[in-house]
């Protein structure tokens, strides 16, 4: 009796096993085993910063690509791309690590309110309606769409300034905040040696007087920095200066000459006595934009 049970159950099991094996063989999907291996070295955040649907999409693209020139995982950066390159036996493209930079310094102090918004707390909705609560229609709205878009908890609105601040160590440069910002204020910039960067913290294209009236920290397009720069890294277009991160040699001369202190330097050691004089006003400090200081780096 027991024997019959064992045989019959065993038989059913065996038949089932054979069937399952056969179907799994027949309907097997051949996937390049390298895709899985590439995916293993990727960060797995599925942030979409690379432009592909999730990490598996990116892995698939890497395996199928001729070369890795235009493929970059912004989260993992060069380190991860080199690992990918080893797996795929291809050449990794050299890219400098980038980081999100907020190009607006229109703090509550600098930018008086001219009206009061009373709609949904969303930059996208407010910007569809009008130019914002202050006289500057280019600047940060402060409703935190960037904060909501960030998967890495790396950007937060400072309640005092109502401006977003990037936590450099957490920022993976995935670009989600850049896409979320309806004002195009956030830029992914070269991280620079020792995270040192110089950039214009303003996107106002208004004429100098108008911009200044709206915000005391605005770039007024005066051109002093352009003249000062020995490397041709600064261009003025539409009353707004822009520093090319590739050409900039981080000499810091432009920072000093800016009359509105719209040019910000980050993570530099303190200046020597005589350098600092033109820029000693109390609000001149890198903290409003980035919280990382050289000490904790």
């Amino acid at each position: 009796m027991i024997l019959i049970a064992i045989i019959s159950l065993g038989g059913i099991g065996a038949v089932g096993a054979i069937l399952l094996y056969a179907t799994s063989k027949k309907f097997e999907i051949h996937e390049d085993p390298r895709i899985a291996r590439v995916q293993e070295v990727l960060p797995g955040a599925n942030c979409g910063g690379c432009g592909f649907p999730g990490c598996s999409g990116f892995a698939n693209a890497c395996v199928n690509a001729e070369n890795l020139d235009n493929l970059l995982c912004p989260v993992g950066g060069s380190a991860v791309m080199e690992k990918v390159a080893i797996i795929l036996e291809k050449e990794a493209s050299k890219t400098d690590p980038t980081v999100a930079v907020v190009r607006c310094n229109g703090t509550c102090e600098a930018r008086p309110k001219t009206n009061q918004y009373n709609g949904v707390s969303s930059c996208a909705i407010a910007s569809m309606l009008y130019g914002g609560e202050t006289g500057c229609s280019y600047g940060c709205l402060g409703f935190g769409d960037c904060e909501a878009a960030c998967d890495f908890d790396a950007i937060h609105i400072n309640p005092e300034t109502r401006l977003p601040e990037v936590i450099e160590d957490k920022c993976t440069s995935c670009g989600a905040c850049v896409k979320a910002c309806p004002k195009n204020i956030i830029e992914l910039r070269k991280k620079g040696p020792k995270s040192r960067r110089i950039f214009v913290s303003c996107v106002n294209k208004e004429k100098g007087g108008v911009a200044r009236k709206a915000c005391t920290n605005a770039c007024i397009g005066c051109g002093k920095c352009e003249k000062e720069c020995a490397f041709g890294a600064i261009t003025i277009e539409n009353n707004l200066a822009y520093i090319d991160p590739v050409k900039c040699r981080l000499c810091r001369k432009c920072v000093v000459v800016c009359p509105t202190m719209a040019i910000h330097e980050l993570n530099f050691p303190p200046r020597k006595e005589k350098d600092t004089e033109p820029a000693v006003k109390p609000q001149k400090k890198p903290e409003p934009i980035e919280t990382t200081t050289p000490e904790n780096k």
Binding site: K113, N115, Q116, Y117, N118, G119, V120, L129, E133
Partner: protein, 319 residues
């Protein structure tokens, strides 16, 4: 800063309608039925209602305060409404501790476990009632005999409902007039058709609900039981008995029309109502339970998301 103009997207005016206005509107509509039940069931009705409402409010407050750590929103009236509806679905001689368990099931399981008002899938009061019906079948199916302002609670005389009489094949039913006015055994709020209909008219006038769900439930039940009665009058009761007895009117007007758990489009509402009508009739005529309203509504509640997908509002100029 004071003189700054306020900017917001259009529209710039609002109807002034609020969630609590709607909830209190339903409460007002339930008042006639409450008065009738107080008249017929006296002290018992008063105790059951008071305990049910008080414990629903208490549970909602505690869960919001302690579990959710959010500002309690008792004042929106939805907990009071759940409490009153739960009481309306209970016999007036139910012991206090059972009512409290029912309130906990209604608020805790039926409403707050989904995230509070607006997120629940099932009508909370019915979750409480069905929970009790399955847990305490004996207590839940003995009803006191209606009297004139009786001062008895759990010690009064008990009798059966019209539907349980029907289920047992009894032919000696209360008159239509008694059924219409509410002089029959049953849960607190379900007995008086006339009081419930007054509430229905009030809800329609105040535009708190539309006619689609109640009317489709009542018509479907009437037709289905009517056909059965026409085929075999000795086996199956007159359709009017079915419409007037049990929780049909209470369920159709006040329970099935619960905003959160009913479909959004008008054709969806009609489908929802027909479904409830059919299920109720089938359970009543062929099922073991004499009453099927609660189950029918809960089943259709579960189907509401599906109905919302397949029955969209009539699109302007649309196919």
């Amino acid at each position: 800063m004071e003189n700054n103009l306020i900017i917001s997207p259009s529209p710039h005016i609002h109807s002034g309608d609020t969630v609590s206005k709607n909830m209190y509107g339903v409460l007002i509509a339930l008042l006639p039925a409450l008065l009738v039940s107080l008249y017929y069931f006296g002290l018992g009705a008063l105790i059951v209602t008071a305990v049910s409402i008080a414990s629903c409010i208490l549970f909602e407050y505690l869960i919001q305060k302690i579990l959710f750590k959010q500002q309690p929103s008792i004042s929106d009236g939805s907990a009071i409404l759940t409490g009153l509806l739960l009481a309306f679905n209970l016999p007036s001689n139910l012991p206090v501790w059972i009512i409290i368990i029912g309130a906990l099931a209604a608020i805790g399981i039926g409403k707050m476990s989904f995230g509070g008002l607006g997120n629940n899938i099932f009508n909370p009061a019915l979750v409480g009632r069905v929970f009790l019906l399955i847990s305490f079948p004996a207590q839940m199916t003995t009803w006191p005999i209606p009297g004139n302002l009786p001062m008895t609670y759990t010690d009064g005389q008990t009798g059966a409902t019209v539907l349980s009489l029907l289920n047992e094949g009894v032919k000696n039913l209360p008159s239509y007039t008694d059924m219409f006015l509410g002089k029959m055994g049953g849960s607190l709020g379900e007995v008086s058709a006339v009081a419930l209909l007054i509430g229905f008219v009030f809800l329609l006038i105040r535009k708190i609900i539309t006619w689609h769900i109640p009317v489709s439930i009542i018509v479907t039940t009437f037709l289905f039981t009517g056909i059965m009665h026409w085929v075999n009058p000795t086996e199956y009761a007159h359709p009017l008995v079915h419409v007037l007895s049990g929780g049909l009117l209470l369920g159709a007007i006040f329970m099935a029309t619960d905003y959160v758990t009913s479909p959004m489009s008008k054709n969806g509402m009609v489908v929802f109502g027909i479904g409830i009508g059919l299920l109720t009739s089938v359970i009543r005529l062929f099922g073991a339970y004499p009453e099927g309203m609660s189950f029918a509504i809960l089943i259709m509640n579960a189907l509401t998301p599906l109905i919302n997908i397949y029955f969209k509002p009539k699109h302007f100029g649309g196919k």
